[in-house]
């Protein structure tokens, strides 16, 4: 069975199984880079009891597919996989996986970081934290826009201005 490059789901994922599937049948792979984002137990000075992730079904998958296309065009990578969980997650839970294969490490590291930077500000997910003082929507970070700017892409996500042009690679 052929696996898609993008999976949005509530279930957890297994790094070993994901990497094994990504490498399977490709003898040209000499490097695998993977990033996993997890739920912290504190954020902005408050305890986090749970994190709820909402997304825009249909748009999320298409946006991440386009990001992977862009990563394949920019870097010499052989395959990429993005898994992102939605729903209610407990502290320490895995949230997101980005895994990339290439012939050599440099391109794998770069493509993995590029995909993660891109995803933070251009994929339609929203986080809501629940803590002792109640629940609150997580604010977007200007730092995340700056991270994408390093790749020559204007994020236009966290800034004050509205109606900015969206990010175009």
């Amino acid at each position: 069975m052929s696996r898609g490059r993008v999976s949005i789901r509530s279930d957890d994922f297994d790094l070993g199984a994901e990497v094994a599937a990504l490498r399977q049948g490709d003898g040209g792979v000499g490097a695998v880079a993977a990033f996993i984002g997890t739920v912290r137990d504190r954020n902005d000075g408050s305890d986090v009891q749970s994190l709820e992730l909402e997304h825009y079904p249909g748009m999320t998958e298409a946006a991440i597919e386009a990001m992977i296309d862009e990563a394949m065009a920019r870097f010499e990578i052989r395959a990429a996989r993005v898994v992102h969980r939605v729903g209610v997650l407990a502290p320490s839970a895995q949230i997101v996986l980005v895994a990339v294969t290439s012939a050599h490490r440099g391109q794998a590291f770069q493509a993995c970081e590029f995909l993660m930077d891109y995803l933070k500000t251009q994929a339609p997910f929203w986080k809501k934290e629940a803590g002792p003082e109640g629940a609150r929507w997580v604010d977007a970070r200007v730092d995340d826009d700056a991270a994408l700017a390093r790749w020559g892409i204007a994020a236009g996500n966290a800034g004050e201005r509205t109606g900015d042009a969206p990010a175009k690679p």
Binding site: W126, G156, E160, T162
Partner: protein, 83 residues
């Protein structure tokens, strides 16, 4: 023309998952937002210009200057916080 409006995150909590809207044939996303803001106080609070919102047309992030066509799906939501 008629467009389908969808809301997410804090905007969805304030206004529900979405609604239909009627706008002029030369409307862009900004004009749609203005028309929605004019509906009532609830809309003005959730979609007013004091709020930093992003928008998408037919499931692609778009600037508010993007023109609309009959049957488009337009979404309004706060800045994205995935990953």
């Amino acid at each position: 023309m008629k467009v389908a409006v969808r809301y997410f995150a804090s905007v969805r909590e304030a206004l529900g998952p979405g609604e239909d809207a009627e706008v002029g044939s030369d409307a862009d996303i900004a004009a749609l937002r203005d028309a929605l803001v004019a509906r009532d106080g609830r809309h003005a609070e959730a979609l007013g210009r004091g709020r930093v919102l992003r928008s998408a047309k037919n499931r692609v992030l778009c600037a508010e200057s993007t023109p609309l066509a009959d049957g488009d799906e337009v979404a309004f939501f706060p800045p994205l916080t995935g990953g």
